[in-house]
């Protein structure tokens, strides 16, 4: 029983620590929240980013309803400027997919209201993380916070 308790403490104690590493998501979420009005909350997702020797591509699928209005907010926190946020109409492995939006490099907080023509059932958010030189690594997170009009 004692072993189980210690194991549980180790296991569950480590999760928030991992989650918080290089990522003050609560502050980032709160900052994003301020930019949501007049939209109502729709989705929130924290993506952990660890930039290492190999470049990384993280893809997040978001389903959308065709005649609703949306706002997407991305907060990159302390991640380097060259971590890119892009929105596509199809997944990364789909030939001929179209780029719908690409955030300017250096923007920490990105606000994007997709035009109606771009809202057709789902979009694909790509986080592009370049490789880090000399075997180093950088960790952090991107907060995706979004709203829609009811």
């Amino acid at each position: 029983m004692r072993k189980l308790l210690i194991l549980s403490l180790l296991l569950f104690g480590s999760i928030p620590a991992l989650f918080a590493q290089g990522c003050d998501w609560e502050a980032m979420k709160s900052e994003s929240q301020d930019k949501l009005k007049p939209f109502k909350y729709y989705a929130f997702k924290v993506s952990k980013i660890i930039a290492e020797e190999d470049p990384l591509l993280k893809e997040l699928q978001i389903p959308l309803f065709h005649d609703a209005e949306y706002r997407f907010i991305f907060h990159k926190g302390e991640l380097p400027d060259d971590v890119k946020v892009e929105i596509w109409n199809a997944p990364a492995n789909f030939p001929g997919r179209k780029l719908l939006f690409s955030a300017d490099a250096g923007q920490k907080v990105i606000v994007y209201d997709p035009p109606e023509a771009h809202v057709n059932n789902r979009i694909f958010i790509n986080y592009l993380v370049p490789s880090i030189e000399d075997g180093g690594s950088t960790s952090g997170c991107i907060v995706f916070y979004s709203g829609f009009k009811h």
Binding site: F44, D54, I62, P91, N120, N121, P130
Partner: protein, 290 residues
Amino acid sequence: MKKLLSVFLLIAFTFAFYACGESTGESNENLKDKLQQEMLMEESGELPEPEHSFYLPSALQIGTIFKRSGLGYMEGITANPENASKYVGKNTQLLNFGVFSADLAYTILNSQSQNSKSLLVAVKELSEGIGFGSVFNQNGLYDRFESNLGNQDSILNLLVEIQENTDVFVSENDLRAETYVIFGGAWVEGMYLGSKAFNKENKAKISKRLVEQLNILGNLISALESTDRNMEDISEVMTGLKGIYDYFNQIDYIRDENGSIDFAKVVIEDKELDEISSKIAELRTLITEV
């Protein structure tokens, strides 16, 4: 995709070249070699595939969309809240938590306070069983919810707050697999309500929404299959979901030559609509029966 990554690598390395060139004096040749090496790796498919994750809409969002399309309230089609305590097994509880969440959204959106109250009790009870109890215990959420049941605006805001708290709770505790199962239940119930409560007047609009939801089913199946959660006990539900998706995918006339669907204009024939409705009802019985 390969082109994208190559361009991305080129930009990344050009940036690195200038940065490193100034600070460390690393030679152009070394960087060019490294770039070429990584591009060759990419060409040969050695670079990692993109990491995928999915976001699935909440029961409230599905309910709101159906409501906006004119879906009215029909007495007696929601699940029986008295069954909440009878579900055993974590996956079954997760599925039925989704079912009751969809029903709760449906009754609230249709100002059915009394039914909402008993469904709220069922949702709360199951939330304890699946380990999501703290979502309702935050900031007296459950009590505020109960006391505002007659106030449509306040209660909708509270439903949104519950959704946001749930998303945060899921992120903090890495419970993605659990939310996918919950959404499975909510999706089936949302479709069930949509297919049961339409009438002559709203049928065209509602059927467009049903098609839109069927397309999201692909995301749900991919999401469920992306986890290593043991779902043997609900394998029949997975089979049912795939059966509906396969049936939907073989309806050719709703797609253009590229396979795309225009969700604003799509029209589905009664024969297919009836078949889908019947498959949904069957699956819903499988999930909710005790």
